[in-house]
């Protein structure tokens, strides 16, 4: 079996303002979203982890389920690559719906 050492690589996108990290946070029982400019990606274990500007230091594990928004095409991709949607509004709506379902379920 191969040694799983991987080469970490920083990749700076050709268009520096194109991508943003979408973060979700619960405020007074509501899900709110914020967008953080991505200035580079760290390639690690075959995934592209965003290096972003803004508050909050997320671990790789924290970042896996967060979305990267391609502002040029409006597409969203989760960092783990397991979910992609055609626009940011759909991504936010899906996440809000899951959040509301979880909230109601836990009551």
């Amino acid at each position: 079996m191969l040694n799983q050492e991987t080469k970490t690589k920083i990749i700076i996108p050709a268009e520096p303002d194109r991508y943003e990290l979408i973060n979700d946070i619960e405020v007074n029982g509501e899900l709110q979203f914020s967008a953080h400019p991505i200035i580079a990606f760290e390639l690690s274990d075959q995934l592209l982890y965003p290096i972003y500007v803004g508050q909050g230091a997320f671990s790789h594990e924290d970042l896996l389920l967060k979305a990267i928004h391609d502002t040029k095409t409006d597409s969203c991709y989760t960092v783990d690559g397991l979910n992609s949607v055609t626009n940011l509004a759909t991504f936010k709506a899906d996440l809000t719906e899951s959040y509301e379902l979880d909230k109601n379920w836990s009551k």
Binding site: M1, N3, T6, D45, Q46, L48, D70, S75, T78, S84
Partner: protein
Amino acid sequence: MNNIYAYTDKKQYVNLEGWLSFTENASDQTVQFRFKGGKVINVYTPNGVQYDCFTEVTPDSTNNFSLVTEAYNVGTSDDIDLKTINYPILGWRHIDGIAYPVALGLPCNTKTNEIARMSVLDKSTKKLWRVDNSKRFESMSHYIDHYYSQLERKAA
């Protein structure tokens, strides 16, 4: 590449530094590495480990290319639905004369031979080609027609 060790079919750890090329055998779950001087070793990869991560990445500075895959569901021959997904390409890995894209949004367990079957869209010419260079498409509609007809044949 420094001191990357792999466990071979000879039950030895071998340093892969200096390999020239490799060939994947998906059915045997092995990868054959070739070295200068003709040395060849076989490495067992039961979990589909991404050996290509050992190669350097050239960042894409053009922003001119997307990786395209087709996503579809097949019910009956009357309701085949074919859609495409575009992934932005941020870099390239050059292996055995093939440029493999490093694209945003691909799952980490996407294997090299799966990427080889995907296609690259040149946004300036609107033409596409399969990553392994086995097919070229004059346009997105040509690409969709090709895969749509494949789907129809499968569904028939």
